[in-house]
Amino acid sequence: MSPDTTQAEPYLVGEAMTGGYGAADILKTCTITAAKGEIAVIVGPNGAGKSTAMKALFGMLPLRSGSVRLGGEDITALQPQQRVAKGMGFVPQTHNVFTSMTVEENLEMGAFLRRDDIRKTIEQVYDLFPILREKRRQPAGELSGGQRQQVAVGRALMTEPQVLMLDEPTAGVSPIVMDELFDRIIDVARIGITILMVEQNARQALEIADRGYVLVQGGNRFTGSGRELLDNPEVRRTFLGG
């Protein structure tokens, strides 16, 4: 809410992020941004540092240089949990549900930090993912891959985040389920939540993206709107298979 120079800045900014797990840097001056209500997608070949970039934005990777800002506020030093409290939601690629707990309990755990009434948010999640209302009493571990991903997204939505980060939400699901998941993600973006996701299925992801990033070896190679990247002959030839 600061009306200063950050006015024009996108809601989530990871600027010139450099860092890695050990001595070698995986990310090299990588910049990722996402504006309010926008869908931003990170694509790139295997080992390009896509997931690492997302982890850096969420505070799960120590940065040697660069910064992360959320709504104009510098959050580079915050722990992931503190970023959740600031309005970031994160859906990991795997192990993203509590398998032994029911769908509803998964949602309740997502809202663990909240002390107010969460009934309304649960209803919103059920409206967004109607299948979850049906399966609310079933352990999440018994659901299909696509339904589990919906539980995972629903869990992350329970904190009512401003930004939702998804690490390969369609990994391992069938093409039909993938299309449905993308539709749901567009629905989430329509409520005004900023979406940032890493995707293996580059073409389909760029089709719904307002903004796309092609990372190669931990750095930005191409940046543009989803359409621009899809139309860019070099991107098509190198990353989208013609």
């Binding site: 992931p80 949990q81 409290a85 509590f98 904190t159």
Partner: protein, 336 residues
């Protein structure tokens, strides 16, 4: 009449002692399995935690007795029990603060935590012996029997007796109450759910804002309470001797593993499986047989598979047998 006598003998010598012992083991195994479910290590100090809790309860019981407070027909130890639980929880939390937390922060592999708990076990062992000594202690007071063998015989006119001891009834009732409460706590409360979430998926629990230190502290308190209750019940039923409690570690872990480490329901089932196996395998069935078999079929031997000296071997045979067919225990445990 013979069938009734056989049933009565079986009830008196196998069913009742087995159920009582099973209830005590189940409560002990519940504590061990909770710690495994949350912190992912087998706590070798659990037997000595039981000893510590029982010792604290006995000391308070003696104090109450010396100032003339009693609980009527029930053992005074039941009044002292809450104090014993608080003392044990405090001790265990202090241990966590001084010892386990350091290793947890360094994210050591669980085998190191097991070894650490072995060290804690020796320390607790020593502390208990220094405070109360190594001797056998009887601390049960109040009424001894709900009904005696003689009473049962006059009522029923049967040749075989059943004697129902107060400590047996208390063990069974306490186990039911504690298990029901624990189930409610884990299933229905926010804190209980956060513990299940943490046990299920630690990273996701952290992402959801669940505070790991709080979960760990509550687990220790619950484990301390369960250990103290189990220890006091066992002591009321038999007697308190530090070395016996140290040895209880074996059937308790057999029970927890048989049921599936980390699974509370499994710990309860495992407790009864181990207890009934121990009692049934070491009981001489000659008496039951004399009532059931015709005269010329009467056995010459005792019909006892093993002497009671082999009790411990029985728990481990059960353990091996179950793990051969169901490697993660009767109920699905967390152990890989």
């Amino acid at each position: 009449m013979d069938a009734a006598n056989a049933l009565v003998a079986f009830t008196n010598y196998v069913l009742l002692p087995g159920a009582t012992y099973g209830a005590q083991l189940a409560l002990g195994a519940l504590g061990a399995t909770l710690i495994y479910g949350i912190m992912r290590f087998s706590n070798f100090a659990h037997g000595d935690t039981m000893a510590f809790g029982t010792m604290a309860t006995i000391l308070v019981t003696w104090l109450l007795q010396s100032i003339g407070i009693s609980f009527g027909p029930l053992p005074t130890a039941l009044i002292a029990l809450p104090v014993g639980i608080i003392a044990t929880a405090t001790f265990v939390l202090a241990t966590d603060r001084l010892v386990y937390r350091h290793y947890r922060r360094n994210k050591v592999p669980s085998i190191i935590l097991v070894m650490v708990s072995l060290g804690v076990m020796f320390v607790m062992n020593g502390v208990v012996r220094m405070i109360i000594g190594v001797d056998d202690r009887q601390f049960a007071d109040g009424a001894r029997f709900v009904f005696t063998a003689a009473q049962f015989k006059t009522w029923t006119g049967l040749a075989e007796p059943i004697a129902l001891r107060v400590s047996q009834v208390i063990s069974l009732i306490a186990a039911v109450v504690v298990v029901a409460w624990l189930y409610w706590f884990l299933e229905k409360t926010r804190t209980g759910k956060s513990m299940r979430a943490f046990s299920d998926n630690e990273n996701l629990a952290l992402l959801s804002g669940i505070n790991p230190e709080r979960v760990v502290a509550i687990t220790w308190i619950l484990a301390a309470a369960l250990a103290t209750i189990a220890g006091v019940l066992y002591g009321l039923d038999k007697s308190f001797r530090p070395f016996t409690y140290f040895q209880l570690l074996l059937p308790i872990f057999a029970a927890a593993v048989v049921g599936g480490l980390g699974n509370p329901l499994g710990a309860i089932a495992g407790g009864f499986v181990v207890a009934f196996s121990e009692v049934a395998v070491t009981y001489s069935f000659r008496k039951v047989a004399t009532y059931l078999l015709p005269d010329d079929w009467q056995p010459d031997g005792l019909l006892q598979l093993l002497t009671t000296d082999y009790k411990v071997a029985v728990s481990f045979s059960v353990l091996v047998l179950v793990l051969l067919f169901k490697p993660s225990g009767l109920f699905k445990g967390k152990a890989a």
